[in-house]
């Protein structure tokens, strides 16, 4: 069985806003969520910019009880986005659709930096025995207890989904893998619908320390909140963000049966491995090109049909020229890459790490629906090695019939999705 798969619901929580409409408005208006940021009480942490979710606004809108406490930050964002997406799809009782499941991408659990202090005894000496005796004092909302399948299980439990509940761990490609596999499950007839996406928050001391020690985030102060400079000569690293985005994917038959509005069609998914180095992407972009080519082949879409690419575009020294090269390889026929509108949403959203592919797919879906390609901000001094049309500064109104969305994870774990305008 091979069925068409359509997008019927969207939900997002990110630095640009607490719903997908606000996020899309921000992206098309060229607003950035990146701002000066610090870890609570830490004034001299080397990383000084990020795209956090507005805590007060989130609490006001969703309340403290959005998740069955205790729950990690990322999971609370994810539950909120999942509820939004189902409501947006007009699905009140998911079970009524038939078999429906969920798949999410998540990253490293959010650990409490102080948890080991419980191991320090009265004599000042640490031991596991002391931690055992005091284990009731450990933070139940930390990643130690909120294992990274907790969000998928919480979504499935809250919305009474009886289909598969999967958690994908493929670093920065996690959400795109989750969406791609959800798409495949519907296409082959395994389920009727899937609630798919990702949630992540790395804006905590343990994870940010790990990322900083790898040299991943920018520590520059030269550009202020214009720090995320994908494809620019002065780019210096990613700008971390947090949030979640979820989409309702549904078989075309199911959507038609209940008269649901369709945003777009998910046409193809492809993944690959670099098989190169854990610390760097393949220098010629082989893995990235393979993921895009496979997604196009999976959707039976010719490269020449593609109008836009929502790039991974991290603003890191390595990713951007390598992704550019991969795009040029995939769209080499007739130099079609010259006609592509390439956009880097991370210049406005920041990098949501494992969740990144989900809000970026929503932007891709809405690009196709609305005929608008969001801009790549802060592209002031183009890198000669990055010589595509990146839609600098302002959104562009143009027809987008087919678009590709890329996510490339640490260690060369790659995934791409193809979105097509829906025509019955």
């Amino acid at each position: 069985m091979s069925r068409r798969v359509v997008v019927t619901g969207l939900g997002a929580v990110c630095g640009l806003g607490l719903d997908w409409q606000t996020m899309w408005e921000g992206l098309t208006e060229g607003r950035s969520a990146i701002r000066r940021w610090q870890l609570p009480g830490v004034e001299d942490f080397p990383v000084r910019y990020a795209a956090p979710v507005d805590d007060e606004a989130f609490a006001e809108r969703y309340g403290a009880g959005e998740g069955p406490a205790p729950m990690e930050r990322r999971a609370r964002f994810g539950l909120a986005a999942a509820g939004q997406a189902l409501a947006d799809a007009g699905i009140e009782e998911p079970g009524a659709l038939g078999r429906i499941g969920t798949a999410v991408g998540s990253g490293v659990p959010e650990r409490d930096p102080y948890e080991l202090l419980h191991a320090v005894g009265e004599d000042g000496r640490p031991s596991w025995q002391t931690l055992y005796a005091r284990r009731a004092q450990l933070d139940r909302a930390s990643g130690l207890f909120c294992t990274n399948d907790a969000l998928a299980a919480a979504i499935a439990a809250r919305h009474r989904l009886r289909g598969p509940a999967l958690n994908f761990s493929t670093a920065c490609a996690g959400a795109t893998h989750a969406i791609g596999h959800g798409f495949r499950m519907i296409r082959r007839g395994e389920v009727e619908a899937m609630l798919v996406g990702g949630a992540d928050s790395v804006l905590n001391l343990p994870t940010m320390t790990g990322l900083h020690l790898l040299g991943a985030p920018s520590i520059s102060e030269l550009f202020g909140d214009r720090l995320c400079r994908a494809f620019d000569r002065d780019r210096s690293g990613l700008v971390a963000a947090e949030g979640a985005a979820m989409l309702v994917l549904e078989s075309e038959e199911s959507a038609r049966r209940r008269g649901a509005a369709v945003y777009a069609e998910v046409a193809g998914f492809g993944s690959s491995l670099d098989a190169y180095q854990v610390t760097a992407p393949h220098p010629e972009g082989h893995g990235a090109a393979l993921a895009m080519s496979r997604a196009l082949a999976d959707g039976e879409v010719a490269p020449g049909e593609v109008d836009s690419v929502n790039a991974h575009g991290t603003s890191t020294p390595l990713n951007d020229p390598i992704e550019t090269r991969a795009i040029k390889d995939v769209f080499a026929a007739d130099e079609h890459y010259r006609r592509l509108a390439v956009t880097a949403n991370k210049t406005m959203l920041g990098h949501l790490i494992a969740a990144a592919g989900a809000p970026e797919l929503i932007a891709t879906v809405l690009s196709v629906r609305d005929g608008i390609v969001p801009p790549t901000l802060n592209l002031e001094n183009p890198d000669p090695a990055c010589d595509l049309d990146y839609v600098p500064d302002k959104a562009r109104h143009q027809e987008v019939s087919v678009a590709v969305s890329n996510s490339f994870g640490f260690g060369g774990l790659n995934a791409s999705l193809v979105v097509r305008g829906y025509e019955h």
């Binding site: 596991w128 499935a156 493929t170 001391l205 491995l273 774990l413």
Partner: protein
């Protein structure tokens, strides 16, 4: 073509406390061999546990990699890499490994280990009132590659780099269902033409005192932890059995979710029925059941209730056996270790039956085995494996 006809499962690579191949595990279970080890590092902090089924941490020479790989990996990733090597370097001839037709599907636990060593805790204690000083301490003391070694998916990067796998991939986490999800989607990737072959594997978490705090919170029933990795190859059936090793078909699968204990029993039963239906058989066609080594009391009750629902009406229920006596509980690797045991049994027409006081070997009455995985939060998977015959 169906997944049953299109895909062959072969090339077992198993690394557990019972040894480095399914035959050794089989023998250990039948002989009642004590494969546990004293685990002093667990006995103190977790008084209920003084032994565990531990394995040696593979070194660079064993793994066939440069020593720098050790800096960006944790023991979990190294166990996985060793399991992959055992699968791909098994007996017999296989054509070249790697390239764009070779995919990778993994079930991975999270890496639950302390970021700061105990030696730094006195300084953390002194700095606790000052977030700035704590941050500076983390900057000095956290290992430089922790961002990679504590990221569970780094295991996929190491395996792909070691064997040149650039095909389609996915990785799931963190509990036992992740292992069977990897098997199902890896086999589907071959059946649907995405990969010519998919290396499928899963690894256990490293036994660590912090793990027990997590397990207790999730309803731990006192099951003994084990370490290890289980890998196999899903390849096109049309490519034939190059190495002459044991092989099987993935005849059917099912996956579902149940939030409460009652829901979970129903979900497991539904997953089993879906797998049976896809395998074009019924409960009577199953010769052997390998239930999950469920380590929560609620999960164990749900699995038992589900098996009673599915097989309760049969005059002769299929024998059941888990590898837990010789491997401990292996997390994501557990159901895949069971798949490898099933391959071994299906190839020889034998099965293992756990009679409570020990495990005995019997003739396999029907050439199909059912393997279950029950994630601790309610995610469930079932697969039906079928012998390929001669």
């Amino acid at each position: 073509m169906t997944i049953r006809d299109a895909v062959r499962l072969t090339a077992p690579g198993l690394y557990t406390a019972a040894g480095t191949d399914p035959g050794a595990l089989w023998e250990a279970l039948v002989a009642g061999k004590d494969t546990g080890r004293p685990a002093e590092f667990l006995a103190g902090p977790w008084p209920e546990t003084d032994t565990a089924f531990l394995v040696d941490d593979p070194d660079a020479a064993t793994l066939g990699v440069h020593r720098r790989v050790l800096r960006t990996s944790e023991k979990q990733a190294r166990m996985a890499l060793y399991g992959a090597r055992l699968a791909l370097a098994g007996p017999g001839e296989r054509g070249p490994v790697g390239g764009p037709g070779w995919g990778l599907y993994l079930g991975l636990p999270t890496v639950d280990e302390e970021l700061l060593r105990f030696g730094a805790l006195d300084r953390l204690h002194r700095a606790a009132g000052s977030p700035g000083e704590v941050a500076a301490l983390f900057g000095r003391e956290v290992p430089p590659f922790s961002g990679l070694s504590h990221l569970n998916s780094t295991a996929a990067a190491h395996i792909s780099a070691a064997f040149g796998l650039t095909g389609s991939m996915a990785a799931y986490s963190p509990f036992s269902d992740a292992g069977l999800e990897a098997l199902i989607d890896g086999a589907l990737s071959v059946a649907e033409g995405e990969n010519a072959a998919a290396l499928v594997g899963a690894v256990s978490p490293k036994a660590h005192p912090l793990l027990f705090a997590q397990y207790e919170e999730l309803g731990w029933n006192g099951a003994v932890p084990g370490e290890g990795a289980a890998f196999l190859l899903a390849e096109r059936a049309a490519d034939g059995a190059a190495d002459g090793g044991p092989a099987a078909r993935l005849a059917g699968y099912g996956r579902a979710f149940g939030a409460t204990e009652d829901d979970r029993a129903e979900a497991i039963a539904q997953a089993v029925h879906a797998a049976l239906e896809m395998a074009r058989t019924d409960a009577g066609g199953i010769g052997w059941v390998l239930p999950d080594a469920v380590w929560s009391a609620a999960g164990a009750r749900a699995q038992r209730a589900a098996l009673d629902r599915v097989f309760g009406a049969l005059a002769h229920r299929p024998a059941e056996c888990t590898s837990e006596r010789a491997t401990g509980v292996l997390g994501p690797a557990h159901p895949l270790a069971h798949v490898l045991l099933a391959l071994h049994g299906l190839a020889g027409g034998r099965r293992l039956a756990d009679g409570g006081d020990g495990v005995r070997e019997e003739a396999l009455p029907a050439p199909r085995a059912l393997v279950l995985a029950c994630g601790v939060r309610g995610q469930v998977c079932a697969v039906v494996l079928e012998g390929v015959g001669k």
